[in-house]
């Protein structure tokens, strides 16, 4: 079953809250992880791992560095979920 963009965004918000303590309602599409949400590279790895558990989409380290905004991750998960 394909997830909607809203579902992915909500799930990502929960993950960011759990991993980095950033409230889910601040996790909005235009935000950048590093500058806006103050999330560092190690937390990004934890977010990628949690996203794999939650969405069944693997985000390798070499892809991770290109995912700068929340929308980037949402798009990546949607793309990968479709092609999987």
């Amino acid at each position: 079953m394909a997830m909607t963009e809203e579902e992915i965004l909500a799930g990502l918000g929960e993950i960011v809250d759990e991993v980095a303590g950033v409230p889910a309602d601040q996790v909005t599409p235009e935000k950048t992880f590093i500058d806006d949400l103050d999330i560092d590279s190690l937390s990004m790895v934890e977010i990628a791992v949690a996203a794999q558990d939650k969405f069944g989409v693997e985000i390798p380290d070499d892809q991770l560095k290109d995912l700068k905004t929340v929308q980037d991750v949402v798009d990546y998960v949607r793309r990968s979920a479709v092609s999987a």
């Binding site: 560092d40 590279s41 190690l42 790895v45 934890e46 990628a48 791992v49 380290d61």
Partner: protein, 322 residues
């Protein structure tokens, strides 16, 4: 052929630790490499580390930690019949460190060998010691983790020189005490992943230590909590019963992630890395020795140990705190 008579189980009688005198702070490192105290604390969790003097050897540190453990155990050197030194930074390939350490402690003619499983070394050596006592091939074993990583660090490489440090920790292992004979060292869960060997390496004698930090972080935060849980399961101890969780002091963020996924709310989680840095095989016995000395963890309670690092090698077991 006859076989030796063993013990129904092994236990740890005492721990000891040694840290070199020289404290190296983050601010000092920030003078020589492009980093800051805040960055190191937030990414790695280290505030300061100890660095051995140029003429201070791995054996020197091992002798100091082991001497303290031996004194704490109430045994004499003559009681020790096996010495295992877990190290990945020995002074030389031969002679090994263990025989030198034994001689300097006045232990006459014990079995003596070095063991290299890098940061998992102490847990591997502890498993060997427990098995030797149970099988009857040794009665009292000195298990030491000792490292001088500073001599393998590129002090211009900010990704590694902020992490690695020097020190030693030791444990005295012996047979279980009568009359209850409750075992004090649980079954080991160990393994390796040689396909990831390049993640942490000193490639040859002219190289420095290199580490792919992000990949190691991903592996450590995903692969290890099942190993830790399995060690609890084999020992028949639920994680909620643990009084202490003492993982290898690699990175505070890794420690916290594994602890969270393990689910051991009562356990005091070792954070020795804050003032000790990453001392590879020495980190677990050093942390335990210091936690016991500070009265943070109760004698007789269960603690979970897990070592992991280069190789890739990992090992975990539950112990009863001495």
């Amino acid at each position: 052929m006859r076989l030796t008579e063993g013990s129904p189980g092994a236990r740890i009688l005492a721990f000891g630790d040694y840290q070199p005198a020289r404290v190296l702070t983050n601010d000092e490192l920030a003078v020589t490499v492009d980093t800051t105290d805040e960055w190191i604390r937030s990414r790695v969790g280290i505030a300061s580390r100890r660095i051995a003097a140029p003429d201070e050897t791995v054996a020197d540190m091992a002798v100091a930690a082991a001497g303290k453990a031996l004194a704490g155990s109430g045994l004499s050197p003559a009681d020790i019949d096996l010495v295992i030194v877990a190290t990945c930074t020995p002074e030389a390939p031969i002679p090994n460190t263990a025989a030198t350490v034994a001689r300097r402690l006045g232990i006459a003619a014990p079995g003596a060998y070095d063991l290299n499983a890098a940061c998992a070394g102490f847990c591997y050596a502890l498993a060997n010691a427990s098995d030797a006592v149970r099988a009857g091939s040794a009665r009292h074993v000195l298990v030491i983790g000792a490292e001088k990583l500073s001599q393998w660090v590129d002090w211009t490489d900010r990704s590694t020189c902020i992490i690695f440090a020097d020190g030693a920790g030791a444990a005295v292992v012996g047979p279980v005490a009568e009359p209850d004979s409750a075992p004090g060292i649980g079954p080991v869960v160990w393994g390796s992943a040689g396909e990831m060997a390049d993640l942490i390496a000193i490639k040859d004698r002219n190289s420095f230590i290199v580490q792919e930090g992000q990949a190691v972080f991903r592996w450590a935060t995903t692969a290890l909590h099942p190993v830790a849980r399995k060690a609890c399961e084999l020992a028949g101890v639920d994680p909620t019963e643990l009084a202490a969780f003492v993982p290898h002091q690699a990175n505070l963020r890794i420690i916290e992630a594994i602890a969270r996924k393990l689910g051991a709310p009562q356990a005091k989680v070792a954070n020795d890395i804050v003032t000790a840095g990453n001392t590879s095989s020495a980190s677990i016995p050093m942390a335990l020795s210091r936690m016991i000395e500070r009265g943070e963890i109760p004698s007789g309670a269960p603690a979970l140990l897990i070592g992991f690092g280069a190789g890739i090698c990992y090992a975990a077991q539950v112990i009863t705190l001495p």
